[in-house]
């Protein structure tokens, strides 16, 4: 390559948004209701704010290291430390990506295609994932822009629910009912995960990295907030707690003059968003593995990840198992999201101090 390609701020924002918005969206309003109780959509704003702080940490890593990549920063450590470190993160990210697509496939199977084999649905998504993963981040980012325009119109479907929306149903009570702020809040936080991957590409952003990251998170938050808010006025509170996938019900409620049960289509379109989540997580995994094994061809790594992923997909048998896996994996991923930038910041600071000392001596 003669000229080094860079991610434009717009592409970055969309990349962040599409990585974030994944399979949790379908149950999000219920999760919010379980966590924060009545008018829980306000809680979503708080969570989004925490994510913004985390993004600032990631940006600080970039700023303090003067544009170095994560791998350049951790290069000061001995090989065996970086190795176990990278492999751990790689495994978590890989499992997260795989479980997300597995859960989506399972939901789509339960709801719409009961007689279609899971292998079929998974194979389709893995083929698409492979096609995207073969390329580098710039190509993926370009594809996300296309997918963004493909999927973003679904937000406007919320307008169909306005006739049934009622402010009276929102109730004046704030955060009342059975609430579980900590555990529930964490599960909502995981719905916004995906931004932490930006630590791998923050140095590749053309300009205004912080702003593009924040814009990405804002898009996700606004969409999440919109969906949750509409759900609160569309469903009654107790009903919302009982809806397994409120967003699927929302989609199912839309009727067009000619078509009946359009949700089968719209839900499949949502699959593209979920696809980007898995692609980005597996991309993260690929980058980490590639860093450790520089000699292996990228294509083999991608193949390896996908084959392992495909096999792991058959370990959890039912949605319940997947949910169990997802809970633990997302906890690990949350810890990575918060601790990784802090750890990198400390590394930069100590190496700076050490360098200064060395220079003084």
């Amino acid at each position: 390559m003669q000229m080094k390609e860079k991610l434009s701020p717009f592409q970055t924002a969309i990349l962040v948004y599409l990585t974030q918005s994944g399979v949790t969206l379908f149950s999000l309003p219920r999760l919010v209701a379980e966590a924060f109780g009545t008018n829980g959509w306000i809680g979503l704003i708080i969570i989004s704010f925490i994510v913004n702080i985390n993004m600032i940490l990631i940006w600080l890593v970039y700023k303090m290291s003067k544009g170095k990549s994560m791998f350049e920063i951790i290069a000061i450590f001995p090989k065996w430390i970086t190795f176990s470190f990278c492999v751990f993160i790689a495994v978590v990210w890989m499992l997260l990506g795989i479980m997300v697509i597995l859960k989506f496939s399972m939901i789509i199977k339960v709801l719409f295609y009961q007689n279609v084999s899971l292998i079929y649905l998974l194979s389709m998504s893995y083929i698409l994932t492979y096609l995207l993963l073969k390329k580098d981040i710039y190509q993926i980012a370009k594809a996300t822009v296309v997918l963004f325009y493909f999927t973003v119109w679904t937000v406007f479907l919320l307008a169909f629910h306005l006739p049934e929306f009622s402010f009276i149903r929102l109730t004046p009570f704030i955060f009342k009912g059975d609430t579980d702020m900590l555990k529930g809040g964490l599960s909502i936080f995981t719905a916004l995960l995906g931004y932490e991957l930006s630590i791998l590409y923050v140095h590749k952003i053309d300009r205004k990295p912080l702003r593009s990251l924040l814009v990405g998170n804002s898009i996700t938050s606004v969409i999440y907030l919109g969906v949750t808010f509409v759900s609160y006025g569309f469903f009654s509170f107790e009903q919302l707690l009982r809806e397994m996938y409120p967003v699927v019900t929302l989609l199912g409620y839309i009727s067009f003059p000619v078509l009946e049960r359009v949700e089968n289509f719209t839900f499949s379109v949502f699959g593209l968003k979920v696809l980007m989540t898995i692609v980005m997580y597996l991309w993260g995994t690929k980058e980490l593995i590639q860093y450790q094994f520089k000699r292996i061809k990228t294509n083999f790594i991608v193949m390896g990840i996908l084959i392992i992923g495909f096999s792991v997909s058959f370990v959890p048998k039912v949605i319940k198992d997947v949910d169990q896996w997802l809970t633990y994996i997302t906890y690990a991923a949350t810890a990575i999201a918060i601790l990784l930038p802090i750890f990198l910041l400390l590394t930069i600071l100590t190496s700076k101090i050490l360098n200064r000392k060395a220079a003084n001596e």
Binding site: Q114, N115, M124, I127, F234, F235, Q239, T249, R261
Partner: protein, 365 residues
């Protein structure tokens, strides 16, 4: 190489999908639930689906079975037809009166749990047995399910904003400040006719309002936008006239005076603007003076009849107007949870304040 693998995959994976040939499917379009006297199999399930007869005519088939639960009965239906049953096209679920009095929730749960059934599934009550309505052969009508579906859509669109689909019913059921309602149908001279509104206390049918009473109920419900007012009114001494208004509901709100401890009062304000379509009195309706007089008479009538209806609702402990929602929104959470909602609703003094404006007397003076 890659392209080859992908093409290979595309062909291989198509083999996994199952085929469904539409001619071999029984696309159920309506189900009916009834209670039977049979103790072992208390539920009677009626399903109807369209078929194409051997000589190519469009017909329907209705199957009736008894079972313990709705899904068990559905299994029995499976043994009674050569087609493959599909419930993805169910448009109407009809409940018999006796079953509705026992409570709809168990059956609704099995409907809403089934992912193949849509959230827009329309619900209705049968004044007698749901199976009677579904089994009825109306000449030249074809599918009873389609007939009912159209009927329900019409009712909803025309002037009764009944909350009739499964999502709306469950929403109002789970909302702690409002009770659901459903339209009632009955078999009448080889025809299916609308016959009022069923009032629910939680998920149990309590009472069926006659269509004339029901029209007042809808006047006080917020979703109502326009309708027809038809009533006998007293004009002058011992003189009665029939009047019909096409009206628009201009304003509707329910107010609860915010007294901190107990809100025992509620007021419903409505404002109607109407055009006279029929008037059988001797007076000249185009005369503004007479119009004002009629306005006053109608206002009085609505207040009177409305009050009667609301007293009835309070006595039955049903709140289809959702007055309790307004009470709730004036209280704090602990007060609301401590409140005996139906008791306080019963004791509440609910006022109706109506304003009727006659817009025109039609195109005849």
């Amino acid at each position: 190489m890659n392209k080859f693998i992908i093409i290979l995959f595309v062909f291989l994976v198509t083999g996994c999908a199952e085929q469904r040939i539409i001619d071999d499917l029984a696309l159920i379009n309506a189900v009916g639930y009834d209670l039977t006297d049979n103790e072992k199999n208390p539920l009677k399930l009626t399903v109807t689906f369209p078929i194409i007869t051997k000589d190519g005519k469009y017909d329907r088939k209705t199957i009736m079975v008894e079972g313990k639960t709705s899904k068990e009965a559905r299994e029995k239906v499976r043994f009674k037809t050569n087609y493959k049953l599909e419930s993805g096209q169910v448009r109407v679920a009809l409940f018999g009166k006796r079953l509705a009095k026992e409570g709809l929730l168990p059956n609704l749960h099995s409907l809403v749990r089934d992912p193949s059934i849509g959230t827009r599934l329309k619900l209705a009550l049968a004044e007698d047995e749901a199976s009677d309505v579904l089994l009825l052969q109306i000449k030249n009508e074809g599918q009873n399910a389609t007939y009912l579906e159209q009927f329900l859509t019409k009712i909803n669109r025309e002037n009764f904003r009944t909350n009739y689909n499964i999502y709306q019913f469950l929403r109002d059921y789970y909302d702690d400040g409002i009770d659901p309602i459903l339209p009632v149908f009955k078999v009448e001279k080889n025809n299916i006719a609308y016959n009022g509104i069923g009032l629910f206390h939680e998920d149990k049918l309590v009472e069926i309002l006659k269509p004339s009473e029901a029209s007042y109920l809808f006047l006080f419900r917020e979703e109502m936008k326009q309708g027809v007012f038809l009533e006998q009114i007293d004009v002058g001494k011992e003189e009665q006239a029939s009047i019909m208004l096409n009206y628009e509901l201009k304003n509707h709100h329910i107010e609860i005076p915010s007294t901190p401890s107990k809100s025992k009062k509620a007021s419903i304000y409505i404002e109607l603007i109407g055009d006279v379509v029929e008037y059988t009195g001797k007076d000249d309706v185009s005369d503004p003076k007479i119009q004002r007089k009629i306005e006053a008479i109608i206002t009085k009538k609505i207040n009177q009849e409305g009050k009667k209806l609301i007293m009835k609702l309070q006595k039955l402990q049903v709140d289809p107007l959702g007055i309790n929602r307004y009470v709730r929104n004036k209280m704090n959470y602990n007060e609301w949870k401590a409140l005996d909602q139906y008791k306080s609703y019963q004791d509440m003094n609910i006022n109706i304040e109506t304003k009727v404006i006659i817009n025109s007397s039609g195109k005849w003076k």
